[in-house]
């Protein structure tokens, strides 16, 4: 539940941010009649993403168990790559995402095309949606059931609330801090996922040996207990991790965290905000 909550919260806030920027900008330029195009785009993105998610789930039920495990293992590794890129990218882009979207809205309106506006909303929200589907699928191999769905629903609900706050523009949502904190959380989740991915590949008989296991904390937190399963999905907990898991976990964690915290991405002094865009630091789309 914690995993699906965090994934949906983080991805949901990105979606909310995009939608709030689009709607806020249309409101500011007196083009509120185009709101429905944005919502239509969001709807298209939702339908496509849900269809892909259901497709993945159905396909994985039909497949042979060993193939599913291989598929999940590779999905996890792919998710780790995307998660890492996303954390680094959001750090760099958080400031310019708003102006980028605004100029795309201008371009779409310039063409006088409603379809272009629908597509803009669908593609920018859909990209986040596809990431969500990938992460939820990768996480569902170690966790599932009603609580997994509930966690996701709560995450999206919280994200929607954030969207309303951003759109209202009255309360300055601490966007920069949100992306900073959730970026660190995501790197921890990704490290665990990377460690778990090799167990899946072992179960799929693709890796034949995981190496020795230096410790066993099973009597402290059992792998088969609720807490153990929760921690496995969230941070890749293993009561007796193999040397391969430990090595991957720590090398990834150290590399990704230092890249995220210390690389000077986006630390360049931002161009002086013009007088007309005093909100550029908070990303608030409205006034």
């Amino acid at each position: 539940m914690g995993f699906s909550f965090l994934v949906c919260l983080r991805e949901g806030v990105e979606m909310s941010l995009i939608v709030a920027i689009l709607l806020g900008y249309l409101r500011n330029i007196d083009q509120k009649q185009h709101f429905k195009s944005i919502w239509m785009g969001v709807g298209v993105a939702a339908v496509v993403c849900i269809a892909i998610g259901v497709g993945l789930e159905v396909a994985s039920r039909e497949m042979d168990k060993r193939i599913v495990e291989a598929f999940e293992g590779f999905a996890m590794i792919f998710a780790v790559l995307v998660l890492t890129a996303m954390a680094l990218w959001m750090k760099k882009q958080a400031r310019s995402i708003s102006s980028g979207l605004r100029s795309q809205v201008d371009a779409a309106l310039g063409k006088g095309s409603v379809t272009a506006l629908v597509l803009l909303a669908a593609s920018s929200v859909g990209r986040e949606g596809l990431e969500t589907v990938l992460f939820l699928f990768a996480g569902s191999s170690t966790s599932s059931g009603p609580s997994y769905v509930l966690g996701g629903a709560l995450g999206f609900a919280a994200a929607a609330a954030v969207g309303v706050v951003i759109y209202a523009g009255t309360n300055r949502f601490p966007m920069k801090m949100f992306f900073q904190v959730s970026g660190v959380v995501i790197i921890f989740i990704a490290a665990g996922m990377l460690a778990t991915s090799v167990v899946k590949l072992y179960e799929a008989a693709i890796i034949t040996d995981l190496g020795s296991r230096p410790w066993d904390t099973e009597s402290f937190i059992s792998m088969t207990s609720s807490l153990g399963k929760f921690l496995t999905t969230l941070v890749g907990y293993d009561s007796a991790p193999s040397t391969l898991q430990i090595g991957l976990y720590w090398s990834y964690l150290l590399l990704a965290l230092s890249a995220f915290l210390f690389l000077p991405l986006g630390r360049k002094p931002a161009p002086k905000p013009a007088a007309s865009t005093p909100e550029s630091n908070t990303l608030a789309p409205g006034r």
């Binding site: 539940m1 914690g2 909550f5 965090l6 060993r66 609580s147 966690g151 801090m177 900073q180 904190v181 660190v184 959380v185 167990v199 072992y202 179960e203 799929a204 008989a205 034949t208 040996d209 995981l210 296991r213 066993d216 099973e218 059992s222 792998m223 088969t224 207990s225 609720s226 807490l227 929760f230 921690l231 969230l234 007796a240 193999s242």
Partner: protein, 119 residues
């Protein structure tokens, strides 16, 4: 930075709260020992009473990490048992009499089936 750690603390605390939602029903369970070696799994058959709650203690005496899981609809969760380790799996037998099946295997290797007979 202090605000960030506060945020992280809140995130961890709320996550733990979520974890507490699902509870394990421990209580009095009959312990059933299962021992895995590289090419076999014993015992081959286990008798259970209708609706009986048991705890399988699976010990892997093989060189490779092995798996245990229920097949053909048997609700025994899939668990990886590292070489030399013991893992516990809780199981509740169905009410109706019949046979349930648990598979033991090393990935990519041969497997053995334990038949659970519910009386």
């Amino acid at each position: 930075m202090p605000r960030i750690s506060l945020f992280l603390g809140a995130a961890v605390a709320s996550s733990m709260l979520f974890a507490a939602c699902g509870s394990d029903d421990g209580g009095d369970r009959r312990v059933v020992q299962i021992v895995q070696t590289d090419d076999a799994c014993t015992p081959a058959a286990i008798d259970l009473a209708s609706g009986e709650k048991v705890k399988f203690e699976v010990k892997n005496d093989g060189k490779r990490d092995q798996e245990v899981e229920g097949i053909d609809g048997t609700k025994v969760e899939e668990v990886l048992i590292p070489s030399g380790k013991t893992r516990s799996i809780n199981y509740t037998a169905p009410k109706d009499p019949g046979e349930q099946k648990v598979k033991c295997y090393a990935p990519g290797g041969s497997s053995t089936i334990i038949v659970l007979t519910v009386k």
